[in-house]
């Protein structure tokens, strides 16, 4: 550090490293998206780059740009993503559960089913042949 490496250089390196980390999270999410068995577990993988990854990227960009204008926009990006991601994930998860695309055999416990049963609801029977939950999705196509 005595060879004329300034604070700006360190911040540049740190910013690039944060962006690299964010890119790695994107890759991990894509891998999970391809390999996980049902929609709910794929959603689990997909949320990584949407929140943590985006915040890492915003931090990396700010560390290398070092301007207040960029800071404002990046904080706005992070805040909007943190408030909208749970909403969309909730809606998608709700639709997944109600259209019976959850692999019940992979669940350790299903609190929602207990609560719904107590409230008098029951997930409708799979059509015709099947007793198990549908995971071929032929009815949704």
């Amino acid at each position: 550090m005595s060879t004329g490496v300034g604070v700006g250089d360190v911040l540049d390196l740190l910013g690039a490293f944060l962006v690299l980390l964010g890119c790695f999270l994107c890759f991990a999410a894509a891998l999970g998206l391809l390999r996980f068995p049902d929609v709910v577990s794929r959603m689990h993988a997909a949320t990584k780059p949407q929140t943590l990854g985006l915040i890492l990227l915003a931090g990396g960009v700010e560390l290398s740009l070092r301007s207040w204008a960029a800071f404002g926009t990046l904080v706005l990006i992070g805040a909007l993503q943190l408030t909208t991601a749970p909403v969309s994930a909730h809606l998608v998860g709700r639709t997944v559960y109600r259209t019976d695309q959850v692999r019940h055999d992979l669940l350790a416990r299903d609190d929602l089913a207990t609560d719904l049963k107590a409230a008098g609801f029951e997930l409708g029977p799979a059509p015709e042949d099947g007793t198990g939950p549908a995971d071929d999705d032929s009815r949704l196509s």
Binding site: D12, C23, F27, A29, L33, V39, L65, S88, P125
Partner: protein, 108 residues
């Protein structure tokens, strides 16, 4: 060539490779489906990958012109996911969701 700049370029280049792989895998999931909700989730991830690409490009070229684009994209993913989730719900909910005395199929 400034060694710090080279290091930054190497790191962002590695990140770009990861992003290309991520986009490819995500598009594979989007093509394979099987349900439209899988595609929605994959589209969300693809939007995140595009945002990451814009961030990496902003770092390499040291400019802030793509930041508003990142802002719009982060909202666009939300709008798409919500509207498609509602669309699927409206099509399937009424048929599949009912009162019944059938034993719970969710039990293992």
């Amino acid at each position: 060539m400034n060694p710090v700049h080279t290091a930054v370029l190497v790191m962002v280049g590695l990140g770009a490779l990861l992003l290309v792989a991520a986009a490819t895998l995500t598009i594979a999931r989007m093509a394979r489906g099987p349900s439209s909700l899988d595609r929605v989730v994959a589209a969300d991830v693809l939007v995140a990958v595009v945002i990451a690409t814009l961030a990496a490009e902003a770092i390499v070229n040291d400019h802030a012109t793509t930041l508003p684009v990142m802002l719009v994209l982060s909202l666009l993913g939300f709008a798409g996911a919500v509207s498609i989730a509602r669309f699927v719900a409206e099509r399937d909910l009424a048929v599949r969701w009912r009162d019944s005395d059938r034993p719970d199929q969710g039990q293992q």
